[in-house]
């Protein structure tokens, strides 16, 4: 029998991105996962926590405990890490706009437990730059956001040296449509912007600057084209090595290593035949472990049923076991880099590097990544790339098994239980969290809270590092919403370019030509019959900032002749209903990916009714389980589109029919 060699490489950190309902429930889940062999934690926060609102804020309605755990104050943090030794745990927090705050809560908790902060290790994602492009959980304008990133770096380098204060993310760029070249270019531009900012702050003496460079880590995506993805990671390593040497004069090669964590691609996971996602996830993992020189430091894998809703503990366990089989059963960790010396790999890496260098020069010529975001350039590029991808899926040029080919399937025993194949979030979570928060407010020392918040405001205004006053806030019992509001008052709020103002180049790029022509005729003739061009409102209620889907629908609708009102993200149901009324639209499309579709859609319908717009048809799209889709239709929603409806032309045809039906016209049926 062949036995694994003893001197094999140590495996990467194994995590599962999780958190839901409450600190208590999430803590129980973490301890179960650790008992199963997980070696680090990856905390998912809910949207109010990510965007700096308290659970009882009107904007938080329906979102508390949905996509992650709600953390409103230090007692929640304490409960989240109950019986978990902070000095021995490696904790990754997916937190951005409020990263300085959650890190302050973590450090504050360590101090309260008598643990030396220098012993803390882990990561705050803290890449607010990409929030403007993809995830959408930004709060403040780019200037103050860069400052918050710099403040956390400056603070941790001195006081929490094992912490990774920022994880520059190319992950979400890929989700927003980035090609490997764009991923490389924009992530490296972001890293440069962050480092330049820290350097300009002058808090770190030049001799110690290489330590700052060493603390910059990355968070990367790996898609199904695993050979190219593996080359992308080798390219990342080479480019980072060169860049840190030439631009920041880091002489020690160890400090120039490209350190990264991974979550493999969730965008490509499918709702039809979801069991195929298992092999997709494993193949995608190959890209980030195969090459020793470009191997991930930490990996988290999505669950096979993520496109359907919230995974159950068993689904997460399956994802963890994939990593364990790869690390402990295969012989991968017994070898040196197995791709070194391959001319094919080397050529592909060079090609990617060359493309990325050109795009970096292009962005630098525009004044750097922040200027290119503010001008809308990068968002436009990403929306265009994403559109190309969707068109390739529609045309069949990009094959997705079970979606646009090989659709035949036997009934799957995995999904036979219908709604049981995913986890339901706790319906009482929001109420419980609000009660807990309101009780907490009564137990605090108000004078201490006021003084701590004043200190925070003063620091924000004066430009001194935000971390010490934030830690003081954490210890005084300040809430997430209070921290967020204090900084909002000083920094202001930001609404970025939507990127949907891209021009139509030619008919050829518009997916299947005949379908588009057919659609344009339908939109035009229906508009003529109704007396004015069809007008669509695309709305994103709630705090969820994943706007890629909404943007693609808006662009497609424009392409087929709709007049489209897109109001951006983070709107209350009241604002959406008001826009529908003022704009006189024929149909409202709502996009919700946070799982809060029931509450939010119901509120929008209610607001429309109160404005006498009962007859105005509403359609909804997002990650919506079939059971909920049926309930939404019961509430009066005219159509629900889920990830299995990948064909935007078909969706458009259906929306036209929804409008026709609502106005007493006959449906035209499927496109030719």
């Amino acid at each position: 029998m062949v036995v694994a060699r003893k001197d094999r490489d140590p495996p990467w950190l194994m995590r599962t991105y999780s958190g839901h309902s409450s600190a208590k429930a999430s803590n129980a889940l973490y301890r179960t996962n650790l008992a199963k062999g997980q070696t680090g934690l990856s905390v998912a926060f809910d949207l109010p926590t990510q965007t700096g609102y308290d659970a009882d804020s009107p904007l938080a309605r329906g979102e508390v405990g949905k996509v992650g755990v709600p953390i409103s104050h230090i007692e929640d943090m304490d409960q989240l890490f109950d019986q978990i030794p902070l000095d021995k745990m490696n904790t990754s927090m997916t937190i951005n706009a409020t990263a300085a705050w959650l890190l302050s809560l973590y450090i504050g908790l360590a101090q309260r437990r008598g643990i030396d902060p220098t012993k803390l290790s882990g990561t705050t994602q803290n890449d607010i730059v990409k929030e403007y492009l993809s995830r959408g959980t930004y709060i403040y304008p780019p200037g103050p956001s860069m400052r918050l990133i710099a403040d956390t770096i400056n603070y941790t380098v001195k006081h929490v040296p094992k912490w990774n204060p920022t994880n520059v993310c190319s992950y979400h760029l890929q989700e927003a449509g980035a090609t490997p070249v764009q991923e490389l270019a924009y992530a490296l531009c972001t890293a440069m912007a962050v480092l330049d900012r820290v350097k300009a702050s002058g808090e770190i003496p030049p001799a110690e600057f290489p330590q700052v460079v060493e603390r910059i880590s990355f968070f990367v995506n790996a898609g199904i084209r695993f050979v190219e993805e593996c080359c992308k990671l080798r390219a990342f390593g080479e480019m980072w090595d060169a860049l840190t040497l030439t631009r920041y004069q880091v002489e020690d090669p160890k400090l120039r290593r490209f350190r990264y964590g991974v979550q493999v691609n969730s965008l490509g996971l499918t709702e039809p035949q979801p069991e195929n996602n298992v092999q997709r996830i494993v193949l995608e993992m190959l890209a980030v472990v195969l090459s020793k020189r470009a191997r991930a430091r930490a990996i988290q894998l999505p669950a096979w049923n993520e496109a359907m809703g919230l995974p159950r503990p068993w689904d997460q366990q399956w994802a963890l076991r994939m990593q364990q089989v790869m690390a402990f059963e295969t012989d991968l960790l017994e070898y040196a880099d197995i791709l070194d010396g391959s001319p094919v790999i080397a050529a592909k890496v060079s090609e990617l590097i060359e493309g990325a260098r050109k795009e970096i020069e292009n962005v630098e010529a525009q004044g750097g990544i922040i200027a290119a975001i503010e001008s809308g350039y990068i968002k436009r590029e990403l929306v265009a790339s994403h559109m190309n991808r969707l068109r390739a899926i529609e045309s069949g040029d990009l094959k997705i098994i079970g979606v646009n080919c090989f659709q035949e399937t036997a009934e799957s025993p995995l999904t036979a239980g219908g709604g049981d194949a995913i986890m339901k979030s706790d319906e009482t979570a929001e109420r419980m969290q609000i009660e807990r928060l309101q009780a907490h407010r009564k137990t605090r020392n108000d004078a201490e809270v006021r003084a701590a918040l004043q200190g925070l405001t003063d620091a924000a205004k004066s430009g001194e590092n935000i971390m010490p006053s934030s830690i003081r806030c954490a210890l005084a019992g300040v809430s997430t919403g209070e921290w967020g509001d204090s900084l909002r008052a000083v920094f202001g709020e930001f609404r970025p370019p939507t990127g949907i103002d891209i021009t139509i180049d030619s008919r050829e790029v518009l997916g299947k030509k005949d379908q588009v022509t057919d659609l344009r005729e339908r939109v035009a003739s229906t508009g003529n019959a109704l007396g004015r061009p069809l007008k669509l409102l695309v709305g994103k209620p709630g705090l969820d900032g994943h706007s890629n889907g909404a943007e693609q629908v808006a662009v497609k609708a424009r392409d087929v002749g709709f007049e489209v009102v897109y109001d951006g993200i983070r709107l209350t149901p009241q604002q959406i209903a008001q826009a529908a009324q003022e704009e006189g639209v024929h149909v409202v499309g709502l996009s919700i990916l946070s799982g809060s579709h029931m509450e939010l859609v119901e509120s929008v319908l209610q607001e429309l009714r109160s404005r006498d717009l009962t007859g105005l048809p509403v359609v909804a799209g997002g990650i919506i389980p079939q059971e909920d889709a049926d309930r939404l239709v019961g509430l009066g929603v005219r159509a629900v589109y889920t990830p299995k409806d990948f064909n935007l032309n078909a969706i458009m045809g259906d929306i036209v029919d929804v409008v026709r039906e609502s106005n007493g016209l006959e449906r035209l049926g499927a496109l030719h």
């Binding site: 007396g531 006189g584 007493g664």
Partner: protein
């Protein structure tokens, strides 16, 4: 050959979409009463009606505007036009202005015009101004309607005219935001009582337009993004030098303001110029004359766009149309519809000589 915009006759062609619809059209007289009471839902319904091209809707639109018109059309409210090149920051400046107006308790209506894609590319539009104009909080005293220009000449949607008339009946301030400068019949100056041009720092376009006389001189200039410093100041002083022209109104100083919408600097002073200009127009008795003139310009532009220069001749020529419109300044929209129907009947009899069944076309029924 006849030079006729095909959309004008779409209602006559045999391919007309004659599907039976159940478009519910409101009773115009009752709707007008609700609009005058400033009911939001009624304002929305009224704008939908004015946008509707069905023959029955056009008739009702005439009745609606007739109910809303009268003396107030010549003296009430303040119609503000904001224009300038793309990217100059018009929307954020309008947003900052709205804050000031709302702070003073005034009701504000906005018509924001965005371009449509070319007809052969579907003619759709992305209307993104709302997101740039709106403050994050809910506000009952602000009403925004986005419009696509639908490839109409001059870049300003023809619907802007009737819609702005409706909005004047129920809002204290009506803002019309458009991209670029008009190149044809309608000049930016015809958009509002007070026209503001937002210039981009370090861009020579504005000055070129001014010098060549392409644009009538705007009442107020704003050089946005003044936080850029020297380039903004340079542009402002260049505009100041180019502004003296023969078509200047006496007694108005044509201020050039340095503002920054994002930094919120210079907004108060900028805002005050609008009130000052409105008062100037009222005091000198110019307001009524200006609005009458603008409405005539709209009518002529619309007729010409649909029926071409020959159409204008068929209607008696520009001078006679203007004279006819001048007789009753409060019913120019009704007069426009009557002229339009008259022309439609003329075109019908020319274009379909073998089938001159006027009665069949709904547009013909109500002809006066």
């Amino acid at each position: 050959m006849w030079s006729v915009n095909p959309t004008a006759l779409s209602g006559l062609a045999p391919c007309i979409d004659r599907e039976m619809t159940h478009v519910k059209l409101p009773d115009p007289e009752r709707l007008a009463a609700r609009i005058l009471r400033r009911e939001r839902a009624a304002v929305a319904d009224g704008l939908n009606l004015l946008d509707n091209k069905l023959a029955e809707a056009r008739d009702r639109a005439v009745r609606l505007l007739a109910c809303l018109s009268g003396e107030r059309w010549l003296k009430d409210g303040h119609l503000v036009g904001v224009t300038g090149p793309p990217g100059a920051g018009k929307s954020s400046l309008v947003s900052a202005m709205i804050r000031e107006w709302r702070h003073a308790g005034r009701m504000v209506g906005v018509l924001a015009v965005d371009p449509s894609s070319r007809p052969e590319l579907g003619g759709g539009a992305l209307l993104g101004d709302r997101i740039r104009i709106k403050n994050s909080s809910y506000d009952d005293g602000l009403f925004i309607r986005s419009l696509a220009n639908r490839n109409q000449l001059g870049g300003v949607a023809t619907e802007v005219w009737p819609m702005s008339c409706l909005m004047l009946a129920c809002f204290d301030i009506v803002v019309i935001e458009t991209v670029g400068v008009g190149q044809t019949e309608i000049d930016i100056a015809d958009i509002g009582d007070t026209v503001c041009y937002v210039a981009q720092p370090a861009s020579g376009d504005t000055i070129q337009y001014l010098k060549s006389g392409i644009i009538e001189i705007p009442d107020i200039f704003a050089v946005n993004k003044c936080d850029l410093g020297p380039p903004a100041r340079k542009t402002a002083s260049e505009i100041g030098r180019s502004a003296p022209r023969q078509d200047r109104r006496e007694d108005w100083d044509y201020p050039v303001c340095l503002v920054s919408a994002t930094m919120n600097t210079g907004i108060k002073e900028f805002h005050d110029h609008f009130d000052r200009h409105r008062k100037f127009l009222a005091d000198t008795g110019l307001l009524g004359k200006l609005r009458t003139r603008h409405q005539s310009a709209w009518v002529i532009r619309l007729l010409k766009e649909e029926f071409g220069t020959i159409g204008l001749e068929l209607a008696g020529g520009r001078a006679s149309i203007e004279a006819r419109l001048g007789e009753d300044p409060s019913d120019q929209f009704g007069e426009y519809e009557r002229l339009r129907k008259h022309l439609l009947s003329r075109f019908l009899s020319v274009n379909q000589p073998t089938n001159p069944t006027k009665e069949e076309h709904p547009d013909e029924q109500a002809i006066v």
